[in-house]
């Protein structure tokens, strides 16, 4: 954690120094005041009183200056820390492989980057401003108190432990109660969220009453939990008061006697009381540290978990330098005895087993199969989005693990099943494929993907802004833009994962025609539900439960492969056109 302070380490030292100064000044003031009363008033020395008074004002002004400096340095340090931490987290997450991403869900990663970092930042800020003060105050106050009157200070010896034990007990129980409350809050918000999303279902099934009573239950549970937590915290104040006021009374009694006996001045007594208060307050503050740190620790753990994640797909450290520069040029793909499963799955069986497949450069290969048969998993292995469990995947006769990842992925273009566009203009989105592409190249790619027409129909054409997630385009339009983006990359291998499901057959035919004409040398792998999309493929690969059950042309498979025939029949696609 300390690493992230970076250049702000000095700030911390400055803050500590400033705090010490502040504490000293603050502690001197009651002392000066005592002198005013005991010496100044007693001797009726007005000049003395004025001098002391000026001293106090000077101290106060000094404290203001210190306070402002501290505010500046602590603000800079805590925000700088947070910014550094955020940057480190973000960069680390960017390096994540797909299976790393799968392990932490997206919302959880967002929370860690946002609220967890904020929590840590706040803790640091509090430390530098308030909590650093407490122990320093405590020590200083004790010193001053004892220097006024050691015997009276014995009260402290009794008061402090009492206070500390009481506070810690309360806070520890409170921590438990607050976690419970937090869980109830999550549950309540979850219920509301679900209702919002599924409101059509609720209304269609006329389940409003049911949902209301579900909500009432959550609501009441939360209320009770919150009351419990709150009641416990309510105990803090009386506890503090009890100890503080008790100590006060004891001091007045014993101190009063001393004043009368002449062993102590009234002014000294008054300032002693001030110090006593300061001590007890500091103790209280100090104990609060525990609860804050507990919370911060939880957040810290979550952040460290991300930072410590081993990235399982990265460039092999000992790549021979020639291989490092290998680029995908031909587009030949080979699977040798590949077995694969997602490491996060609880199910025991493999997602892919014994896959053997060769695809020659320039071929148009289709992959079909039922839901969950392993199609997406298969193609994800090619750009090394996941690594195999056994066997090898070779691109251009080189194991994918021997490529520099950047080079491998430059040569393999992929359109994922769930299409994501980003905020920015259409052009900016398409340029993800190739940052240096010219206007003409962008338009050409869009034309091939049958996206150019509709883009030009927008008033601002390629400069049209897309909202977060690309909201103002239809599903089919989004898919076509994603295809254009991938094409712009001019990859040797192009993978389309169910990328035309929202595009109708006619447009899809045009896209395939464009591929056949303009992307002749590109190896194309297409996963599709519709047989009509894949009839013209050079090869069709049929997957069933993770195994290849057939490879061939449409005609071959229709005659010889039962599963393929089944799929066709279910779509009423026969041999005739």
């Amino acid at each position: 954690m300390k690493l992230f302070l970076g250049k702000y380490k000095k700030h911390i030292l400055v803050c500590v120094g400033l705090m010490m100064g502040d504490v000293t000044c603050t502690m001197l003031m009651p002392m000066l005041m005592a002198k005013i009363v005991d010496i100044g008033v007693a001797t009726k020395d007005v000049a003395y009183i004025s001098r002391m008074g000026m001293g106090m004002v000077a101290l106060a002004l000094l404290c203001i200056a210190i306070g402002m400096l501290n505010a500046k340095f602590s603000a800079e340090a805590s925000q700088g820390f947070a910014a550094n931490l955020r940057k480190a987290l973000f960069n680390k997450i960017q390096a994540f492989s797909f299976s790393n991403i799968d392990r932490f869900s997206a919302p959880s990663l967002v929370t860690r980057l946002t609220s967890d970092v904020t929590q840590l930042q706040n803790t640091l800020l509090m430390c530098l401003r308030m909590l650093l003060r407490a122990p320093l105050m405590l020590i200083a106050a004790i010193i001053f108190a004892v220097s006024i009157n050691a015997r009276l200070s014995l009260v402290i010896v009794v008061a402090i432990p009492l206070l500390v034990i009481g506070i810690i007990l309360v806070l520890r129980t409170a921590e438990r109660l607050f976690s419970a409350m937090q869980r109830k809050i999550d549950a309540l918000n979850g219920t509301v969220q679900e209702n919002l999303v599924a409101i059509r279902v609720v209304k269609a099934f006329v389940r409003e009453a049911h949902e209301k009573s579900k909500f009432k239950k959550s609501n009441d549970e939360l209320t009770q939990s919150a009351i419990n937590a709150g009641n416990l915290i309510s105990m803090m104040m009386p506890l503090m008061m009890f100890v503080m006021n008790g100590a006060m009374i004891a001091v007045i009694w014993a101190g009063g006697k001393m004043v009368h006996a002449g062993g102590m001045g009234t002014g000294a007594l008054i300032s002693f009381i001030s110090y006593l208060m300061e001590i007890l307050l500091s103790v209280m503050m100090f104990s609060m540290v525990f609860i804050l740190f507990a919370r911060a620790e939880a957040c810290g753990k979550r952040i460290v978990e991300v930072l410590d994640t081993k990235i399982d797909i990265s460039d092999r450290a000992l790549l021979p330098s020639k291989e490092k520069r290998a680029l995908v040029s031909k587009g030949r793909i080979e699977f040798r005895n590949v077995d694969f499963k997602y490491s996060t799955e609880a199910m025991a069986h493999n997602v892919l087993s014994c896959i053997n497949l060769t695809i020659e450069p320039g071929e148009f290969v289709a992959i079909v199969g039922g839901t969950g048969s392993g199609k997406t998993s298969l193609v994800s292995l090619i750009p090394r989005l996941y690594d195999v469990m056994a066997g090898q995947v070779l691109v251009d006769d080189v194991d994918v693990r021997d490529y520099r990842i950047e080079n491998l992925r430059s040569g393999v273009g992929m359109v994922l099943q769930k299409n994501v566009l980003f905020s920015g203009s259409i052009r900016e989105n398409l340029l993800w494929g190739d940052g240096n592409a010219s206007e003409e190249e962008v338009a050409e790619a869009a034309r091939n993907a049958q996206a150019d027409d509709f883009v030009r129909s927008f008033p601002e054409g390629y400069a049209t802004e897309l909202g977060q997630g690309g909201v103002n385009v239809s599903g089919g339009q989004k898919q076509r833009l994603c295809i254009a983006r991938a094409i712009l990359k001019k990859p040797a291998i192009l993978i389309l994962d169910d990328s035309t499901s929202a595009v109708d057959t006619a447009t899809e035919t045009k896209i395939r025609a464009a591929f056949a004409q303009k992307l002749k040398g590109t190896t194309i792998l297409m996963i599709a539900q519709r047989i009509s999309s894949v009839r013209d493929a050079d090869k069709i690969v049929v997957l069933d439960e993770g195994k290849i059950v057939g490879i061939g042309t449409h005609e071959d498979l229709f005659s010889n492969n039962a599963i393929y025939r089944d799929i066709c029949v279910s779509q009423q696609e026969g041999l005739s056109a």
């Binding site: 973000f90 706040n122 709150g230 007045i252 609880a346």
Partner: protein
Amino acid sequence: MAENRQATPVPRGPGADPRSYERPKSFTASLSRLLKYLDKSKVLVALVLVLLFLSSASMLAGSYFLKPLINQYIIPGDFAGLAGALLGLGCIYLVGVAASYLQSRLTIRLAQRTTNIIRAELFDKMQALPLKFFDTNTHGELMSRYTNDVDNVQLMLEQSLTQLVSSVLTFGGSIVMMIILSPLLFAFTALVLVLMIFMSSRIGGKSRTYFQKQQALLGQLNGNIEEAIGGLKEVKVFNHEEAMKKDFDKINENFRGAATKANFYAGVIMPIMGNLNNIVYAGTAVFGGMLTIAGRFDIGSLAAFLQYSRQVGMPINQITSQINNILAAVAGAERIFDVMDREPEIDEGDVTLLAVKKNAVGDLVPVEKDDKAKLWTWRVPIDGGKNGETELVPLRGDVRFENVCFSYDGKKTVLKNLSLHALPGQTIAFVGSTGAGKTTITNLLNRFYDVDSGRITYDGIDVRRIRKDDLRHSLGMVLQDTHLFTGSVMENIRYGRLDATDEECVTTARAASASSFIERLPEGYDTVISGDGANLSQGQRQLLAIARDYVASPPVLILDEATSSIDTRTEHLIARGMDALFEGRTAFVIAHRLSTVRRANAIAVLEHGEIIELGSHESLLEKKGRYYELCMGVRELD
């Protein structure tokens, strides 16, 4: 004595809460409406106020006590009297402590109960709102009502109000006491106090500006993060990592700058205010000392005055920050009220569903809802129900659209003079391009929206006459975006009919071809699925939704792209089950996939809100019109 009474147990960083800088639109109106929720607990509120007063008073009294203590007992050395006085002081403290504790507990209870009521009211009112509301407000917005806004209101009720009152009491009380002790000394104190108030508001203002800036940038930062993480896979595929990092760095830096400034101003308040207070203290000591020398003041009074001067500074800051919190809370309450005040779904229907059975004589008599031999009928009041007479119209599923016109926003017409007649037991399929109006038809049938002109009749009854709940009971819907709830698979299936037995649920799961994947789940039917069914594939979710509909077993079915995510082979398998489901029922099917559609009795081709072709699969093919073109893949569907 007790200096930091107002310190809250869990310290919130000074001004670290940026929410507290909004302003409500009509403060008094909203605040009074909010306070009305406390009406039922008037006694409690009064009690809290009394206790607040007691605890503040005890604190002020305790400080005052120093005067007689020192003057009358310590200096003269009257220790018997001192003991008695200390006892008295002890009692005052005890009263204060007890009052403070009780007040805290009562306030928490009050605040939590009130928040509970507000939350429940918000939820209940929201449930009754028409679909249009949900379609026009983002979920994020609505969620923040429950989280952000309710939280702020709760904070206000729990802490801000009481702390404000107690701060005002302390401040006012201290000033009064100071004046009583020495008006002269007070005059000096007042000068510095005014300076303090001035500084508080100036710095507060600066702080507010920077916090607003910070908030805006925070929104940007969070948006960037959400997008980057949501599209992580895309980033990897396109090797876009470096570019993303650069973008992020820029925003991160901007945010850091603004946040640092905001934090600075927030952090500067305490030292300045605290030390100005110390200057008051210093001045008091000096002038008080001089007055004492001049014989116009005594040490006991000086001690007491010093205590008060210590106590008077804190409240100023407290008051400003609590006022901010209250303003923010009321602003949040306004947003909550806005949702509550929306028009609920209008339901003027008087026709209801009734389950009946033919008795021995052949008359129809009402029976229990779960009677297996039941028939559904509509109970239609005659003559507007003046005599309480009703007639019974059997529910057969005869649906007619008569010249229906509709638009969502009043500008773009979605349906134009649509007419259609579905006979009982028929399956009607709708095909057409996106935006042609297919989903709208189902929205109108369900009365999620109402027609602009024309009418829809159900067994001869205008649907606007039928009570919405009853109408929806008679329709079963399976949508493209399946929505499941957190709970077990069994519970989700049972959502279709809450009184379905486990066996019935399993049977329907089998019929929907869902049982095979359910049985392979870790705990089978008891497996808990999360939120929107995230641990299942799209196809599996749709199968569950279909099973859910089976269980509901409604007379009329609406399937809107219900099988789009299921591969054709699986769809083929459930086809048999679906045929059984369609048997004897009227069904409306919307599909992109022609294989789903071909089995319908009649296919309606929609284009721009009008039916341009209507007929069976074969007859339309013969026509060689639009349908033919769609089948042959010549024309665009998108």
